[in-house]
């Protein structure tokens, strides 16, 4: 459903102020959604907005867990191994296990 006025208003509000409902660009999110599956063809105007906020919360969750691992190692710099460990040690991040193992393989080679 195309409502250009709605989107243009949201984007300017979201980027200019942190109090906006979302930060991530809706068009990019829609693009990624459509690539996820052939079945994803039509989505309402509100769905990308929910996705944008969900992504934010997801990134914050990984950040929190990776940061805990950084602290356990008594470091102040968060590195990608901390992100990988956070993924491996958290059950709900199981869908990311392949990503972590691929990056580990590429390092070994």
């Amino acid at each position: 459903m195309k409502r250009p006025g709605t989107y243009s208003g949201i984007l300017s509000g979201g980027i200019s102020g942190r109090t906006g409902p979302h930060l991530l660009p809706l068009a990019r999110i829609k693009k990624i959604m459509k690539k996820s599956s052939d079945d994803v063809k039509m989505i309402t105007g509100e769905a990308p907005i929910v996705f944008s906020k969900a992504c934010e919360l997801f990134i914050e969750e990984i950040t929190k867990r990776a940061w805990n691992i950084t602290l356990q190692g008594k470091r102040r710099t968060l590195c990608k191994e901390d992100v990988a460990s956070a993924v491996i040690t958290t059950d709900i991040f199981d869908f990311l296990v392949n990503l972590v193992s691929d990056s580990a393989k590429s390092e070994e080679s």
């Binding site: 006025g5 709605t6 208003g9 949201i10 509000g13 942190r18 409902p21 979302h22 930060l23 991530l24 660009p25 990019r28 999110i29 693009k31 990624i32 959604m33 690539k35 996820s36 599956s37 079945d39 994803v40 039509m42 989505i43 309402t44 509100e46 769905a47 907005i49 929910v50 996705f51 906020k53 969900a54 992504c55 919360l57 997801f58 990134i59 914050e60 990984i62 950040t63 929190k64 990776a66 940061w67 950084t70 102040r76 710099t77 968060l78 590195c79 990608k80 901390d82 992100v83 990988a84 993924v87 709900i92 991040f93 869908f95 990311l96 990503l99 691929d102 990056s103 590429s106 080679s109």
Partner: protein, 153 residues
């Protein structure tokens, strides 16, 4: 030899930047969260770890989209709506996200409704303004009105 070639193919399988989430925004989300978590001292984030965050978020969107699509199909509809996304989040064990997302969506709906009513009002005012303006061919009366309007500005 063939295995090495396969490895090379895997490592060269890079997603183009246009298909990824913008790094600057992902970096902002990570930094803001870290500054919340450790208020005393500054935290550094290596650039390469940002790639991990971007990729993870992209795969999260894929996973959530596919699940929401399945939920939508089960309800025998073709258009994915916000409720499908909420149900999908519960299915993939991210139920804790649902409450803050609903709040966020309600806020967006209220703001959107406000903007719509404001723009409608503005349009109506414009229309009324145009209707009040008399035709240009008339004499002194219209000129006086114009002067008044300009002085108000």
């Amino acid at each position: 030899m063939s295995e090495k070639e396969k490895d090379v193919v895997v490592t060269e399988k890079v997603v183009s930047e246009a298909d990824e989430l913008p790094k600057t925004i992902v970096r902002r989300v990570v930094k803001d969260k870290l500054s919340q978590l450790s208020k005393d001292s500054e935290v550094n984030v290596l650039r390469e770890s940002l790639q991990g965050f971007c990729e993870s978020a992209r795969i999260f969107i894929h996973f959530l989209s596919a699940t929401a699509s399945d939920v939508c199909k089960e309800s025998k509809r073709q258009i994915i709506n916000a409720e499908d996304v909420f149900k999908a989040l519960e299915e993939i064990e991210f139920a804790e996200f649902v409450a803050p997302l609903r709040t966020s969506l309600e806020e967006f709906r209220r703001k959107n409704a406000k903007r719509k009513s404001e723009s409608l009002k503005a349009k109506e005012m414009n229309k009324k303004g145009k209707m009040k303006e008399p035709p240009v061919t008339n004499g002194g009366g219209s000129e006086e009105e114009d002067e008044d309007e300009s002085s108000e500005e």
